[in-house]
Symmetry: C2
Subunit: 421 residues, 2 copies
Amino acid sequence: MGLVVQKYGGSSVADAESIKRVARRIVDTRSLGNDVVVVVSAMGDTTDDLRDLAQQVSPLPPARELDMLLTAGERISMALLAMAIADLGHQARSYTGSQAGVITDSAHGKARIIDITPGRIRQALDGGAVAIVAGFQGVSQDTKEITTLGRGASDTTAVALAAALGADVCEIYTDVDGVFTADPRIVPTARRIAQITTEEMLEMAANGTKVLHLRCVEYARRYAMPVHVRSSFSRHEGTWVIDSKDGQVMEQAIITGVSHDRSEAKITVVGVPDRPGKAAEIFQAVAGAGINIDMIVQNVSAAETGRTDVSFTLPKTDGPIAMTTLQNVQDAVGFASLQYDDLIGKISLVGAGMRTHPGVSATFFAALAQAGVNIEMISTSEIRISVVTRADAVDAAVRGVHTAFGLDSADEAVVYGGTGR
Amino acid sequence: MGLVVQKYGGSSVADAESIKRVARRIVDTRSLGNDVVVVVSAMGDTTDDLRDLAQQVSPLPPARELDMLLTAGERISMALLAMAIADLGHQARSYTGSQAGVITDSAHGKARIIDITPGRIRQALDGGAVAIVAGFQGVSQDTKEITTLGRGASDTTAVALAAALGADVCEIYTDVDGVFTADPRIVPTARRIAQITTEEMLEMAANGTKVLHLRCVEYARRYAMPVHVRSSFSRHEGTWVIDSKDGQVMEQAIITGVSHDRSEAKITVVGVPDRPGKAAEIFQAVAGAGINIDMIVQNVSAAETGRTDVSFTLPKTDGPIAMTTLQNVQDAVGFASLQYDDLIGKISLVGAGMRTHPGVSATFFAALAQAGVNIEMISTSEIRISVVTRADAVDAAVRGVHTAFGLDSADEAVVYGGTGR
């Protein structure tokens, strides 16, 4: 008996049958005496289909109009889901982001939530109805324009709404049984993680584990909102993402899991004059273009030339603009040339136990060596070690590391239909 | 130079190419120095597709949720149209019915416009942008819920908005060149009507001429808003629907045109006791079920039985509920039986000249006789004569009457792709 916020992704509401299945699940939760708020994404590939339609009309559509267009997707799924619940004899009312009080800034296409004023949602709950809320969308505070929060942001809507309503739990339904010690498509013996701290989940999400959106985990951490990631295709317990500070006793493993990411590229700036301020000039130029870089390595300077090479990784999608930006500052910075490499992969080992257990790095590098994987870059945080390798070495690296840290399960993980949400 | 409201139906924006074509047309009007407000329907069959989806989820979806669902249709088309205009280098901003200030009552699925407060539309115009407004939808005054105005009501949105903005003209774009003296699919030599009064247009729309929606004509009449019905597939002048009271000199033909309608059914109540109040009991029961009846005929009472038959016509879609309603009052009213006939058609001759030209009825009936058409019911207004016939006699009746009143043109009318809007 409490207030439960549930979020269902696009693959969970892909067609009429799926929507009815999700409705039954919601009604089950309601029938246990809970108040239920549901955040829903657009059906299946709707958002991509609408983007395609926009492309057919204009190669560079205005961001305001693109948001107006894309928000039709959740409008359709949320109304259908409310109908399916009503058909099961329960009250349900659907609300757009704007109606639900999801207030954002004015950055169309990648708006950030500023505030949530869920007056109508509370009214619906008080009236005994299930409230269905469109994920991924809001209304701008200043201009009262419809905004979208960016790809995958329905998770963020759910956690933010759960925090604003003081929910007992935020359940994120997806097409896998939770967060695994590695991607089960690469490591069939990967284990479901029963509990994970928000700080570990942040590291995994930031380093390629796609089950939860990074901003959603940041929200969960900020508001100490317990998140339960689970499958809409089964009734199994999933993964509880919990605040490490809230005193819950956890069976704390040294290593939580292995993440991997093949979505990054590497740029090497060759022959940078080894003088103070040169690295700053390079990264100021890149940051000015709005690009988030990930890992950075600077080689030891060659004494005879007084020059060095600087490498960094960044999302492949930002590669072209980063190259153009750097070419424009080549003369000013005085470097020799640029190299672009998009055949890299990153493997990350995450675990809060690293703080207190020395020797994790040694085991990690030994496992990579045994798997025949060459290391190109290294970066670490308090609870994570990441390496960059060739893209085609990632699978072997993940498997080798997973085994070396004793993460393999006796059983194979179940992978459901979809490949994402 | 003025303010033009244009309305484009679903067949005019059925795909990306059509949307771009409509955008060019809007930009042409804008480039002449006009302020332009555009009301747009959902693309092609979108509304029907969404209805089908709702049916798959629930046989009887809640009206509020159905409105939420269906309004996604215009959201998509209006955003795409705004993008296409922007792509031509002009500013455009799309607005939902709610954002455009279309205030309605709370009757989901068939809401009526109470008021229009087009503040944001004026702002867009003042800022030099074309304003694109979703047809068919609004927001309820009391509950702030999203409503729809019922089928074909985008025409009504356009005229109501034109009136609220004090527009110079409301252009209704469709897939025919205007209003014709008869349906060109039945009478290939039908002529386009250059000018028609709102009262004649009301009679034609109410009696089966589908080019303009009845409520839209009522609005045009109430606010004396000139309406120009024309094709989005050609640049021809269409039909001007104008207020007969505004003093414009018109080349007033005696007969304006011939309408026909095969969407009605006939119910005959057999053996009604011929006593005062019995007809009232019947029609009170039918009206209580929310059914609009059209024509009524009461036979001369048979002296030997003291009973009579009462026939009336009504929309076929209301047939089942009318029959159920009447069966429930059979004992109370004391009639013998009910007959249901949905193989009827109606032919109507409309023309303001009838008021002053006697002999129109005689020519009408003679033409029907010559075409071998049997008359089952007759009804008249000041400017209209209608008869009910067998459904399969309608085509011959329309052609015969059209010829008898000299309405045939030397040329064949052009019929474009679609069959409706």
